[in-house]
Symmetry: D2
């Protein structure tokens, strides 16, 4: 297959590297408006073929295109890729609005092309292992999903902290939980006449489940921790741990009924802890593999357009909720 | 002075121990409806004088009374204590409603008695040190206060997780920050046909400050961490650390303006970290000392009735917000 | 049973508390040369009967005596206890020389009395669990035992850091490993014209096993960590962890032989990690239980006189090795 | 300058990358007996000029040569480099014996060429910062240097764990401490009919200083921790910490003399902790810079031949001590 990568900023070169490493990819094309970036890339990957413009890529005989440009361009570039009959891998978040995402999904269907969003985290050994554990029922009913993703971060110019960081947490949540949220309420603040630099997202579900995400560019320490509480077991996923990122606790509460006591008693219960070995493969390599498989086998990738759309719907709703001072915004 | 302690459950015996250790206290009286508790206490503290009822304590010539009974009784017992002309130390939270708290405050004023709420955390070495650091301006403008207090906890029967755990975080916040919140929005869930066992409280302020508290009885690990972000420095207070509970980071962001660039650039900045030595004195000993000082000197203690009232106002508003599905509730 | 405790310094009151809590103990006697200590104890434990001298205890009808005096007195007092036909629980280390320990062992045999050394660590949930894991063969052949026990410690006046701290590590090692060391080499330094304040002990075994202990009163942080390497699994025991003190790693090396390669290849292998739930019972309570059981059932306790003797032999040899500049000293 | 790199295994490509990045280096040559390695390197660094043999490099007009071949070849190749009038950067450890090192040092002097050993750790921000702190006297008299470097490691075929890992610890110690060791005693074991896979090195000094190094390929967790104790302050350097690798504790002991007490009392003292900001520059970049500076300015680099020789003398003595069962081996 022949693959093109558009946009060679922070992430694009990683796409180039992983596509180059696949023996199913014969040629890699690339382009960027910034000629310096192109030059640097070609020094590092001399076999990559640099072209002058996105139009040249569209005109080429490449099979698929990876879009790693600023989010505002995802929709327009992605639509042109699909309309030219090429498969599309687009960086996360998928686009700046759910309407744009819906158009991309529809366009991919119409042209029978693969549409994938690069939610890389879904392909990490840690997240795949947790998904396994949850799916085989070890955790029981899910009670909550709580994610904290904070550090002293680079302020982005085109997106606030919600659009920058929360796609990670929301895509992991979406992947992990069968149930989908029905509403969002979010609060956030900006401290530099700028985009929000910290925010809290509460996700409401039918029933007794809830999810919460704290994203923050202004924290002195780096925390990347997800807690998942269930009726049988509980999981702590600490991405800052060098090893043992996922810990499964055989802990929880038990409901006790004692003779003569009419009230329900809830007691806590602690047991063993277990840290499964995790696959150390580079997640982006598996993203590329899933994309190429989807193209070859005519099936959907794990992180398909519908997934990307669901994440953007939540981001959009969260941003609206922040503007409304934290009011609950329903997801359709 | 002669002091009485009412209620000898989990916390009462600690009050007895600390009052007994003060050389300003000549006699300690105590009572509890549960005779077994009284017996056990007297074995451990043979000098303590057990009496049969609260009425006896009111009728005694004791100067002050510590109330460590369930929260629903704080108001009625506290009012009787004050009306009998005795000083009052009441466990946190102060009472079950702001109205009850206001009556206690007014009653104490009318009878010119000391009214103190046992917000023990305000007297820890860690919290006092952070207060010092903030007050001398090292942190600059406060951007946010973020607290996480989660563990696998004993389910309480009379209060939900907000009333059980959040008084700690809210009292620390109230003590640390000159500015007071103007509204609260909170979400919470109960998983056992019971009180809420997890909740998230967002506290809104005038201007660009915000605070957030996560309390949870269903977490597999114990986290007790407060982040305080400021324009100059940032603080991490991790109460689970055996030493170095408070870390002050000379980190933050700086606003950069470069020639030819019209947009504001915000860059992050990291510097040294500093973990000050903390006073290791038992906080409850300092609570007792402040209470006795306040009585002797006729001044207010740090954790006075107004403080306790402010905390209860927030708890009350948070609970209302949870009931309203997270709607913003204004604090008067 | 009637039990006496002699010596009410740091540890003696804990013995008193645990003997008092046993329903098999009807009376607890105690004495100390320091009258203040006796007074304080009796305030705290009013049911305890204070006597004026060790002679009175020997003359009393008590069944057993716990000795918690300075180590130099263990032998002479212990001998008198045994000769008076009473059972003996003596603090660790058992005595100041192997000769003294041997006399105590012989004397206990002659008088058919229980002789136990208070190696409390052997009764902790963590150490018992590790012993179980090793005994059921999960760890395979033991390759090494490595212990670090360092902190900023109180300098003792009668013993150096080896005699103060290493009994913990050596007793755990002795308990865990079927094989016993055949020689010791140790190095140590004193920095204050005093006893050694830091030391390293290397323990030599027949075959390919080895053990090592680092004890230090001059470390800025508290480390209490034991690594146990085996042919199948490996254990990390970190006593500073609030929970998950024991972690069992399904990691190790595997020997690979590949066609055409004549050299043995050794590759590492990593697997799951498992942190078993640990019994949280107070270890000293189990010490007391084992002592009372041994008396009642006429059997040896886990930490018997032979155990205490083996530990003292190593301490003695280690001290001699330090004096000889690290020369290897054989254990008979 | 024109630089050649010989040996393109694990470390050689890093040398190539760093030499390439220097604007003082016009050309980089390289060679390796394994043609596949050369091919892979040239794909990654297309500007690098591959040559067929070491002889070609010696015959070329290059100014300096970096040797990253197995340690057994360091001496013979290094001697030829120097005799051809080229400057020499050799991987650590410098050679397989002190005699070989001495010849290299003498040869470099005779030919007035720079001789540098790639003790990369000396150029890390952490080690340079600790050196600063010690040199300005903050730590006071050094009491000890204790290093633990253990993990589940790749078994090397040509060297045991001492020669593989201890050069790091010993070079840091050599760099940090003005005083040099006078003797070594070491114990080690091999578990796979192979080289030693774990070892403990005790380093003896004149006076009351001591150092100790624990290296181990068979540990289930990765520990990289150095403790430095001093009369005024103490340092913990934990290389596994993502940030705050160096912590300086204002802790220690104080000697107290109280009236009426004839014995010296030693009490411990704890104070603030401070984690200085560390330079994040790539250490190998600074190695290359120091090497090029030394060539241009005609001065010695920090990690000069004498440094490399001192380290090898200790390694050699340690190995001999292991063979002699831990006997003390004097360093000349």
């Amino acid at each position: 297959m022949k693959i093109a990568v558009v946009g060679l900023g922070y992430w694009g070169p990683n796409l180039v590297r992983n596509f180059s490493a696949s023996d199913r990819v014969s040629d890699v094309l690339c382009c960027d408006l910034d000629r310096e970036r192109v030059k640097k890339l070609v020094v590092k990957f001399p076999h990559v073929q640099a072209v002058d413009s996105f139009d040249e890529i569209l005109a080429s005989n490449c099979d698929a295109v990876g879009i790693a440009t600023p989010i505002s361009q995802h929709h327009s570039m992605g639509m042109r890729v699909l309309r030219h009959g090429k498969h599309l891998l687009v960086e996360k978040p998928m686009a700046i609005s759910s309407r744009e995402c819906e158009e991309l999904v529809r366009c991919a269907e119409d042209h029978k092309r693969v549409l994938m969003v690069d939610h890389t985290f879904l392909y990490t050994g840690a997240v795949r292992k947790m998904k396994d554990i949850i799916e085989r029922g070890d955790v029981g009913d899910i009670y909550y999903f709580d994610s904290v993703r904070v550090n002293l971060g680079l302020f982005q110019h085109d997106v606030n902290v919600i659009w920058d960081l929360a796609p990670h947490d929301l895509s992991i949540m979406d992947f992990m939980l069968a149930q989908k949220p029905v509403a969002v309420s979010a609060v956030g603040v900006n401290h530099y006449d700028h985009m929000e630099d910290m925010a809290y997202l509460a996700l409401h579900f039918e029933g007794k489940m809830m999810a919460h995400v704290h994203v923050n560019w202004l924290a002195p320490v780096k925390i990347r921790r997800i807690l998942i509480g269930g009726s049988k077991k509980m999981i702590v996923y600490d991405d800052m741990e060098p090893s043992e990122k996922v810990k499964v606790y055989d802990s929880g509460v038990k409901v006790v009924t004692r003779e003569g006591i009419y009230k329900t008693l809830v007691e806590y219960r602690t047991g063993d802890m277990f840290a499964p070995k995790l696959d150390q493969s580079e997640a982006l390599g598996l993203v590329v593999k899933d994309f190429l498989d989807a193209i070859e086998l005519g099936r959907k990738p794990v992180a398909d357009g519908e997934t990307g759309l669901r994440i953007v719907r939540i981001l959009e709703a969260a941003e609206l909720s922040v503007k409304k001072g934290g009011a609950k915004v329903h997801l359709q």
